[in-house]
C-alpha cells in the first residue's frame, strides 16, 4: 500500500489534488487504481473547460469497467497531461505521480471541504 501524501487533498470519489497557489493538479488515488485494475483509456477535457466542484471532467477505463473522473474543486482547465493518452498504464504504476489535468481554482475556499491524507487513509482502510 502506497502512502497518501500529506501535501495532497483527497475526495470521497478517490481523486487527489495538489494545490499550489491558485493552481491545482488532479489525479486518482492508489486505492482508485487498485479498484479499477489495468487502465487502458483515459478521456480528458480540453484546455479551457470550466469545471464545477464534483463535476465529471472525463472518464477512465480499465479492462473491467469504465468510471467517471470528478473534479475536487471548481476551476478552469489550464493544462492536460497528454502523455497519459498513449501511456494510461502509468496510472497503475504511479497513481500519485500521474496528474491528469491542472486547473486554475475559481473558488479556492472549496478546498476546505476536501479530505486530508489521514482522513482519506481512514476512508479506504
Amino acid at each position: 500500500m502506497m502512502a497518501y501524501l500529506a501535501g495532497f487533498k483527497y475526495t470521497k470519489d478517490h481523486e487527489w489534488i495538489e494545490i499550489a497557489g491558485d493552481r491545482g493538479k488532479i489525479g486518482i488515488t492508489d486505492y482508485a487504481q487498485q479498484q479499477l485494475g489495468d487502465v487502458v483509456y483515459i478521456d480528458l477535457p480540453e484546455v479551457g473547460a470550466a469545471l464545477k466542484q464534483g463535476q465529471s471532467f472525463g472518464t477512465i477505463e480499465s479492462v473491467k469497467a469504465v468510471s467517471e473522473l470528478y473534479s475536487p474543486v471548481s476551476g478552469d482547465v489550464v493544462e492536460v497531461n497528454a502523455a497519459l493518452k498513449d501511456k494510461p498504464e502509468v496510472v497503475n504504476s504511479d497513481p500519485h505521480g500521474s496528474w491528469m489535468i491542472a486547473v486554475k481554482l475559481t473558488n479556492p475556499s472549496e478546498s476546505a471541504s476536501l479530505l486530508d491524507a489521514t482522513q482519506y487513509q481512514d476512508l479506504v482502510k
Partner: protein
C-alpha cells in the same frame, strides 16, 4: 454482476485460499469469487504464453442417469448426444421452445446411460428445475443437482499438459480435445477433461471439494518453473472473448436463438424432436433477421455490454460483450446486428456514452491458437 438479493454469497472450497493469497474478490452470480490475482493483463498473458489455474467450482453439475438417460439428454440438449462415446464431451445449448438459451453447457457422457451437464453458476437452480420438468416424458431417467459434490479447477495454457501430466497416471498427452479421463491428480480422485474457456490448450479437473486445495497447491507447485500463476474471473472473461466463446447472460440468453448466436453447429438438425427444434427449423428456413458478429473498434474506446450499434443512419443492434484485449491489444467485442450489416468488413457506429465510435465487423474468432 451486482448482487440482486441480500442472500449471503456462496463460497467455493478454495475461498479461504483465495482470501489468504490476496486475490481481489467480487460477488459473481451469487458467489464470492476472485476477479483477479496479479492483474487481468498479467494473468491473460500467462495463459496465452505459459499457463494459469482458475477456480471454477462455482459452475454447476447436473447428472442425468437411468435407462432412458440418452433420450432425456437428447430432449433437453440441442446438440446430438448420441454422437458422444463414453469419455467424450460436447458443447451444447439448453433451449426454450423458441430456440433461445435457458443456458449453455457442456455434456459429458460418463457411461452409456449416465451424463454430466456442466452449467453456469448463476443458472443452476433454474436449469435444474427446467431439466427435471422437461425430461419427465423421456421415461426412466432422473436428474440430480450434484453441484456440491464437485470442485472444478481449470488449468489452461500451452504449458498445461507439462504441468499436469507429472501429477497424474492418466495419459493426458493422448487425451484428445473434448475427451476426458478418470484417474488421480496429486493423489486425489479426479475426472480430467481436455476442455476450457480460454481458447488455449488445457484441462478442467473435477475433484471432491475437500481435496480441491490440495490439487490447487500441487498444480501451482508443479507449474512454478513454467511460470504458472493463479487467475481470476477477469482474465477468464477477456480470454474467452478473444476466443469468441459466448457468455450466457451477456451474448446469449432467453431472447437470442442459437441461429442468431451463430451456434447452428451445436444444433442436432438430424435428431428427433427436442426442445426448440421446431422454432429453429423454421428460423433456418426463413433466415435470421439479426446475427452475432465480432468487431474491432476503429476509433478509440471500448464498446461494452448494452451499448447501442448504429448502421445506415438507424439503430442496427446492440453490443453484448466488449473489452480491450490484453494479448491482441485491440478493443474488440461481440454484437447483434441486423443481418444486412453483418458481412466482414462492414462498418458501424457504437454509442459509447453519447459519443459515436466507429467499429468494423471481423471474422471470428479474434484469437486462434497455433496447434
Amino acid at each position: 454482476m451486482e448482487q440482486a438479493t441480500a442472500a449471503p454469497l456462496k463460497k467455493t472450497p478454495l475461498h479461504a485460499r483465495h482470501r489468504a493469497s490476496g486475490a481481489k474478490m467480487v460477488p459473481f452470480a451469487g458467489w464470492d469469487m476472485p476477479v483477479e490475482y496479479s492483474g487481468i493483463t498479467e494473468e491473460h498473458i500467462a495463459v496465452r504464453t505459459r499457463a494459469g489455474v482458475f477456480d471454477v467450482s462455482h459452475m454447476g453439475e447436473i447428472e442425468i442417469a437411468g435407462r432412458d438417460a440418452l433420450a432425456a439428454v437428447q430432449r433437453i440438449s440441442s446438440n446430438d448426444a448420441s454422437k458422444l462415446a463414453v469419455g467424450q464431451a460436447q458443447y451444447s445449448g439448453l433451449l426454450t421452445p423458441e430456440g433461445t438459451f435457458v443456458d449453455d453447457l457442456l455434456v459429458y457422457r460418463l457411461a452409456p446411460a449416465h451424463f454430466l451437464l456442466v452449467v453456469n453458476a448463476g443458472n443452476i437452480a433454474k436449469d435444474y428445475g427446467w431439466i427435471a420438468e422437461q425430461i419427465k416424458p423421456a421415461g426412466d431417467a432422473v436428474a440430480v443437482d450434484a453441484s456440491s459434490r464437485y470442485a472444478l479447477l481449470a488449468v489452461q495454457g500451452p504449458a498445461a499438459l507439462d504441468v499436469l501430466q507429472p501429477l497424474t497416471g492418466a495419459d493426458l498427452r493422448g487425451l484428445k480435445y473434448y475427451w476426458f479421463a478418470n484417474g488421480e491428480v496429486a493423489g486425489v480422485r479426479a475426472t480430467i477433461s481436455r476442455t476450457g474457456y480460454t481458447g488455449e490448450d488445457g484441462f478442467e479437473v473435477f475433484v471432491p471439494p475437500h481435496s480441491a486445495d490440495r490439487v490447487w497447491q500441487a498444480v501451482l507447485e508443479s507449474g512454478k518453473s513454467a511460470g504458472v500463476i493463479p487467475c481470476g474471473l477477469g482474465a477468464r472473461d477477456t480470454l474467452r472473448l478473444e476466443a469468441a466463446m459466448r457468455l450466457h447472460g451477456n451474448d446469449i440468453d432467453e431472447t437470442t436463438t442459437a441461429l442468431e448466436a451463430d451456434l447452428g453447429w451445436i444444433v442436432g438438425w438430424k435428431k428427433d424432436d427436442f426442445v426448440g427444434a421446431a422454432a429453429l427449423r423454421e428460423q433456418k428456413a426463413s433466415g435470421v433477421g439479426r446475427k452475432i458478429v465480432g468487431f474491432e473498434m476503429l476509433d478509440r474506446g471500448i464498446a461494452r455490454h448494452g451499448y447501442d450499434a448504429y448502421a445506415g443512419g438507424a439503430r442496427s443492434g446492440v453490443v453484448t460483450s466488449g473489452t480491450q484485449t490484453p494479448y491482441l491489444k485491440k478493443a474488440i467485442g461481440l454484437a447483434y446486428l441486423s443481418i444486412e450489416h453483418t458481412s466482414a468488413g462492414a462498418e458501424f457506429d457504437v454509442d459509447i456514452r453519447g459519443r459515436r465510435a466507429r467499429a468494423r465487423v471481423v471474422p471470428l474468432p479474434f484469437y486462434k491458437r497455433q496447434r
